[in-house]
Amino acid sequence: MKLDFEEVSVAGLTKSYGPTLALAGVDLSFSAGSVTVIQGSNGSGKSTLLWLLAMLAYPTRGEIRYGKYGVSRADGLRGRIGFVAHQLQLYPGLSGHENLLLAAKLQNIPYAEKRATDLCEALSLGEYWDRPVRTYSRGQAQRVSIARALLHEPRLLLMDEPATGLDAKSTASVVGLIEQEKQDGAIVIVVTHEAKFASQVADRVLHMDRGRLVEPEA
């Protein structure tokens, strides 16, 4: 059963990989219908935060709450989370269409084909829909990855550098899709280095440095 939530909050969130402290006690909350952009230098802990929120890693210390639910309800929460990771998490031997249909079946979406077709049109995937992903450019594969993250109409949408490799037209499509998700009440968290893209989508911008939230440099 898919669980619903209106807010995501983290308290004292800490993650270390051996001696390396990736996140050092982060406290944050994200509410429905908002877009939060997280910026920071490489290794500042932005992507780690997304991985923890996607429940692909466990915190060393601290807690994540999805509304009233904790990560112990992961099976019900996963169906409400969409994640565009930096590595695109697609099977290169399958076409974009097959990758999306596999994700739709695993998400148990009854109207999979229609939803996939709608996203295909929104992201202009049509030209290379049936070609193996390994023949795609980075931007084309990125669009399939974004479509996969949106397929199941997630409540929490996590995007790690979603505009990487996209041309101006595709970037505009992604901005439109993020706006649409926000209108639909999703919690959107975007990690990006691209200032223009950030300014187009952000309701609030956070900065991270060495695993902590910091004030932006003047």
């Binding site: 929460l77 994640f83 697609l90 099977y91 990758n99 596999l102």
Partner: protein, 226 residues
């Protein structure tokens, strides 16, 4: 979604990829033919002693092909971090392990369908009357081996030393099943009846149940944080 349905989706995805690329079957199949051919040329002496040698060649081929095949199957999951696409889905973690094990077994059976006749021909072993118990032995031996190797491949998906770990940990663990399979096959080739090798089959069945059960139980935790 039920564990079995999700496992079938994962397995079908693997088989679809293989039908598309034929990468695993081509490389592993050629390797299998090479091992059996080399084994038959190097060890063949006469029709009397060949039934003693053939089981070793057959099971060494299955072991090496299985390791190659399973390694390649999990490498597909590492490419582009695709396994995380599965881990993001609201499916039981064990279904990923079960699905990968099913697809590896299907592919290994295809290779074995090539290996067994080759082995029987090269070592001049009379096939009549032994095919059914031989296939049953191969099935039982393969299930134990593949379930164990898949489990350690799942463990090692984010480990740099995965190949070393696979070889160092899997070979000793599957040794009892492989030894039982090889000895039972030797007895069968030497003229034993199905009833006479039933004890070996029971040992293999127990091993399979133990390792499949252990794999399903452990994989829930192993794949939770990779």
């Amino acid at each position: 979604m039920s564990t079995l349905r999700a496992a079938l989706l994962v397995a079908l995805k693997d088989l679809q990829l293989e039908v598309r690329t034929k990468e695993i079957l081509t490389s592993t199949g050629l390797f299998a033919v090479l091992v059996v051919t080399l084994g038959s040329l190097a060890f063949y002496t006469d029709p009397v002693s060949s039934p003693n040698v053939a089981p070793g060649v057959l099971w060494i081929s299955i072991l090496f092909c299985g390791i190659l095949l399973i390694g390649r199957s999990w490498a597909l999951e590492r490419e582009n971090d695709a396994v995380f696409g599965l881990l993001l889905a609201p499916i039981p973690r064990a279904s990923i392990y079960i699905g990968k094990t099913i697809s590896a077994l299907v592919l290994l059976f295809v290779i074995e369908l090539l290996l067994v006749p080759l082995c029987l021909i090269f070592f001049q072993i009379e096939a009549s009357g032994i095919m059914l118990p031989l296939l049953a032995l191969i099935f039982l031996g393969s299930v134990g081996f593949v379930s164990t190797a898949s489990l350690f491949s799942a463990v090692g998906i984010r480990t740099r030393a995965r190949d070393l770990m696979l070889s160092v940990l899997v070979f000793p663990l599957v040794a009892p099943a492989l030894l039982a399979s090889a000895v039972a096959t030797r007895e069968l080739f030497a003229g034993a009846t199905t009833a006479e090798i039933l004890g070996w089959m029971r040992i293999l069945t127990a091993f399979d149940l133990l390792f499949v059960g252990f794999g399903v139980w452990v994989s829930r935790h192993l794949l939770s944080e990779t």
